[in-house]
């Protein structure tokens, strides 16, 4: 079974951006006024080029690729690379401007967990409603009803309106319905970034099962570790074009290099903010006081990470965190959380810096850090894969590193 189920040829999507109209939709008056004005303009001086305040923007351009049956394809790329647009076109929510896609089989797309859930309806009613919205038939839903309820772990609250659900229950129920779809092609966008870790693993398992049954999965995520775990192929998008495709490992490595390249080459740092309400923003991250060039750290060397952040809206009780990923896989190797210290920051100035110092226990290799801000369990900002550093094959005391196993090194005391 290796015939392509999805064939994308020369795909492009153009958006017209209006620079003046911030509302996104036009009002009747604007259309009439602009129309009359441009008509009057055309009559009075027909040769002059009309000054427009619109701009064309190609969210996707010249995209060509194929997906074979049973493939689990991960689509990765920075914010604004065109991932979501591609998914929207594949799931027929919006039309492409150029090119074509050939699809074989029934498609179901899961661009958001709980699409169409109605807060006033009970869990039971929402299962039916959501199932129908996702394209299941009533008989199909009835057959799988018990399984869905089981998976979601909310049977006690089936007859409670979902507006009284906790956000965890809501998400579990929503994913449970979606997980029991049985399309030939499943399109998923970032939905795993919800629920607790145990439930995330359960969802991931379910998705792998879907793939193993010979069905095709297209998956978009910022979480490289998940892509690596779930997918057997990957596509890397940048600025609306396909930069590469191949094994997830190769694409992830290439993506990480790309992301960092952008972040360190530019004069102004262009970090990728992937989450949060942005009441405060991380502006600059420096490792050992260096904001460009390669940072090299020995094992057990001292590391100082400085996060410079800007306050957008007045906010207090900020808690910071830093994640350490392996550059090759994106997997999180370690992390540091300010909330573990029971301390928080009340910023006084519009721009401030917070420092984190620690002894490096990571073994030689290349690492990337992500950082973020929380306020009482609510994400304020998170920059992904912002800066990199290299741990050199040597210890802080000058001793050479001799290829021991593992990823981290503990500094233990030996005694007898």
């Amino acid at each position: 079974m290796s015939n392509p189920v999805i064939k994308v040829e020369n795909l492009g999507k153009k958006y017209i951006i209006c620079h003046q109209d911030t509302a996104g939709y036009s009002t009747l008056r604007d259309t009439i006024v602009n129309g009359t004005r441009s008509m009057a303009h055309a009559i009075t001086n027909p040769k002059s080029v009309r000054k427009t305040n619109t701009e064309e923007f190609w969210a996707l351009k010249n995209l060509n690729f194929e997906i074979k049956q049973g493939d689990r394809l991960g689509i990765i790329g920075r914010n604004g690379a065109g991932k979501s647009t591609l998914l929207k076109i594949l799931s027929r929510i919006t039309e492409p401007t150029t090119g074509r896609i050939k699809l074989k089989g029934r498609i179901a797309s899961l661009l958001e967990v709980g699409t169409g859930f109605h807060p006033e309806l009970s869990g039971r009613e929402n299962i039916f409603l959501n199932g129908a919205i996702l394209g299941m038939s009533k008989i199909e839903i009835k057959q799988k009803f018990d399984e869905i309820v089981d998976f979601s772990e909310v049977e006690k609250f089936l007859d409670t309106p979902v507006k009284r659900y906790s956000s965890g229950m809501y998400v579990r129920l929503a994913f449970a319905v979606a997980a029991h779809l049985e399309p030939e092609i499943l399109i998923v966008d970032e939905v795993l970034a919800v629920g607790d870790t145990a439930f995330q693993q359960k969802c991931l398992g379910k998705m792998q099962e879907v793939g193993r049954n010979g069905r095709t999965v297209i998956f978009v995520s910022h979480n490289m570790a998940t892509v690596k775990q779930l997918c057997n192929k990957a596509c890397l998008l940048a600025n609306g074009t396909l930069v590469g495709q191949g094994t997830p490992a190769a694409m992830i490595a290439s993506y990480m290099e790309n992301t960092l390249g952008r972040a360190t080459d530019d004069d102004k740092k262009n970090y990728q903010h992937i989450k949060g309400d942005r009441r405060a923003e991380i502006e600059l991250i420096t490792i050992n006081d260096r904001d460009r060039g390669e940072v090299i750290i020995p094992i057990f060397g001292k590391v100082k990470i400085a996060l410079k952040y800007k306050i957008i809206e007045s906010i207090d009780r900020l808690e910071f965190f830093v994640l350490f990923h392996s550059l090759a896989t994106g997997e999180i190797i370690s992390s540091c959380w300010q909330k573990d210290t029971q301390e928080y920051i009340d910023p006084m100035l519009p721009v401030e810096t917070i420092n984190l110092e620690f002894i490096n226990h990571l073994l030689p290799g290349k690492y990337v850090i992500s950082a973020g801000i929380y306020k009482q369990n609510k994400c304020v900002d998170r920059v992904e894969y912002a800066e990199a550093f290299t741990v050199e094959p040597a210890f802080a005391d000058g001793q050479k590193y001799d290829r021991r196993g593992g990823k981290v090194r503990f500094q233990g005391n030996w005694y007898s």
């Binding site: 799931s91 089989g105 006033e120 409603l129 919205i133």
Partner: protein
Amino acid sequence: MNHQTELIIEAGRSERHYWQDIWRYRELFYFLAWRDILVRYKQTAIGVVWALIRPFLTMVVFTVIFGKIAKLPAGNAPYPILVFAAMLPWQFFANSLTECSNSLIRNSNLISKIYFPRLIVPSSAVVVSFVDFLISGIILLGLMAWYDFVPGWRILTLPFWIAIAFTASLGVGLWLATLNVQYRDFHHLVPFMVQFGLYVSPVGFSSSIVPQKWQLLYSLNPMVGVIDGFRWAIIGGESRLYLPGLILSVSLVIVLLISGIWFFRKMERTFADVI
């Protein structure tokens, strides 16, 4: 795995599968209507009774104002029945317009996240209003029993008039729903249209009080034909049909529906980008 369904996504080429898709998504159609009906009366103490109370009170007000104070002629039929026979289709039309024009905006989260033939959304809004229409129909039966009023054979033509009312609601509703996505002005305009329409349509009075020479012009209001038809079918007796006006109304309604579908289909492609 079955491979018989091959789908091609291309600019401007969703036409071929469209009507087939509507059939495939017929259950969604049902579920959306079911949801709207269910949600409407959730957390209300008297529930569906609201669907009866609203038209009933309006009927009482109209009977008092037009029948008792303005003393408009009613023929031999009891005034409440005269009013209610018109109230039914008008309420249906007015509710449909309001619901329909907001339906796409209200379901914008679905439209921007899931594919289905968008035509389902406004049509299911009309169906919801139709259910209300059927419920209010009970009041009419009650009134007939109260006044000991037995309708003639013409009542059998009622389904025809209902069909026209349905077509008119959907036709105008589609136009408004589509325009509302692009121009939110209609969000403010529709309630006004509905209020205004109540007074220019022959709801509180009989259309026979309109001077003969204006009758044809008056029939340009698509609801005139529908309301007259309802009265003719239910009350019978004196009320008569003005044929040229009726033909004009009916053809206008059909034109509205066809152009409504055409316009909707044309704009549908950009809904997800604009909404």
